[in-house]
Symmetry: C4
Subunit: 173 residues, 4 copies
């Protein structure tokens, strides 16, 4: 954990999985065959603030739905990769595109498809209810469950460390 | 807490944030890009009763959705301010419009966009799962989470103190 | 509690409130202004079984929605009274219509609009998360919350006492 | 429990009930009369992996909805029996169709309509919040509730025992 805190200093990019991290890991099944997800407004607040403060926020998810795009674009997140079969490939593309090093990236995932990327990213983090295998390789396990504030937890810690959390801007959406 | 109870005597206006106070802070993402919220029927009962008994109930939210307007108007709440970027400004407008003093107002919020208003309102209250910064400045922290009875909690306490809680009217919606 | 068990012997009618008893007391707000409710399949199983075994199952709710009617009729419940402003009046009508005595009726409610009826019914029961005033007048408080098996709890107890719970019929919906 | 682990060796078929096992046992009631269910993405991951590894995954449910078919087919599950009044009959048909023996089958159910089949299947398993009668006849009671990872729990245990859980394939959906 000490290690984890020290590493937050160089972070300028947050990468999140969607299901089980930005959502509670459940999908509501409509009769039209859509999967509706629930996301936290407190997480959303933190993500849009991070963008406003100049951090890069990236989403890499195996799932894909119109509602996910709309939510994420609504928070001013531009790097949205949905329907991704292999996350490691996209992770490397993002790094190259923006000239990033692994140690500038914190990745939060919750299940086995996140495993390989999490071994690469500078900091590996996960929600309290992540899969066992993911907890084992995480340097930080949030006390919040997926969809219930785990994304905000790591953003808040990082921005506080960088003295960018609470100030005038923070009061307006 | 003692302070809080004493202050309830002069309250005639309840102001609530929506997400995380009247809802559980989650939004369900539809494919059309709508955000659907869940609210408590027990909270709704208390709000319509407060209106019926002559209290002013006001909603100030950064969010905005047709479903929110319909729910709130259905409870006979007239002062509904949605899509508000800066809550303090609307708070001052409401005060002026109705000739209210700060000490007549209880404000319940849960996150940083509520911070400035809560420093002004006569009584600052929040749900059990509010953000840390909000809990720090709240005179009353409900034992109920957002969307799970926290609004009813403060309405019930206030109306009981004023001897307006349970009586003949109360049995009908 | 002893009293409660003894009284179950003469019960042939179950009356349930909907919001907070057959649902978890939350409504999902759609953009069209509908309120969507969640109900338990385990409760549904018990209610259709009670009907099949010859018990009368009655719903009296202040709320009203197409989805509620469809769910209840789908369980073969015929006595569905929705949008009821005063529950006591409907309670008396049901009694007269079927020639029932108070002691043949168990009523499960969770909030103040149920108060007056619960003082009349033979047995007053409520979910674990009912309002304080309702718990005070309940002879039985289920250990299950609203929408989470409280209706099944009292049906199961009654049918077991009457030796009508588990048998051949029970395996098929 | 010892018995249970020993028996997993010969399992090649998983049969699941839907409501209360693959879902949390709640249905959201729409105004059109549809019942929407919530299912876990972590359960879904495990089910598609089991199919990919050559296991048979079968669903037998008394309920029936378009959204259920679409979800299950989307996970490459082919044996989907919905709207089944008597589960034992379908269980026997599945056995005959694929030439299966009882001891090759693990069945996870949560309520009385699952009772008879669970007495026949090689291993009877249930979620933590199953009905009392079902817990009594289950050889394995998951520590996860319905819709919250109980299906994954038994798939994961079985595939781990067979050395088919985590490997190259596992990282891609």
């Amino acid at each position: 954990m000490k290690n984890y805190k020290a590493k937050l200093g160089s972070i300028n990019t947050f990468i999140f999985d969607f299901d089980g991290v930005l959502s509670d890991g459940m999908v509501l099944l409509t009769e039209e065959g859509h999967y509706l997800r629930r996301t936290s407004v407190k997480d959303g607040y933190a993500m849009q603030l991070a963008v406003k403060k100049g951090y890069r926020v990236v989403i890499i998810s195996g799932a894909k739905a119109e509602g996910m795009y709309k939510r994420l674009y609504g928070l001013n997140i531009q790097d949205v990769y949905l329907g991704v079969p292999n996350k490691l490939k996209v992770y490397e593309q993002v790094k190259e595109k923006y000239g990033l090093k692994d140690e500038q990236i914190i990745y939060m995932g919750d299940d086995i498809p996140d495993y390989e990327v999490m071994r690469k990213a500078g900091v590996a983090a996960c929600p309290a209810d992540a899969a066992t295998e993911i907890k084992e390789i995480s340097e930080y396990i949030s006390d919040k469950n997926g969809g219930n504030g785990c994304a905000r937890d790591i953003i808040e810690q990082t921005l506080k460390l960088h003295k960018k959390w609470m100030n005038k801007d923070a009061y307006n959406w």
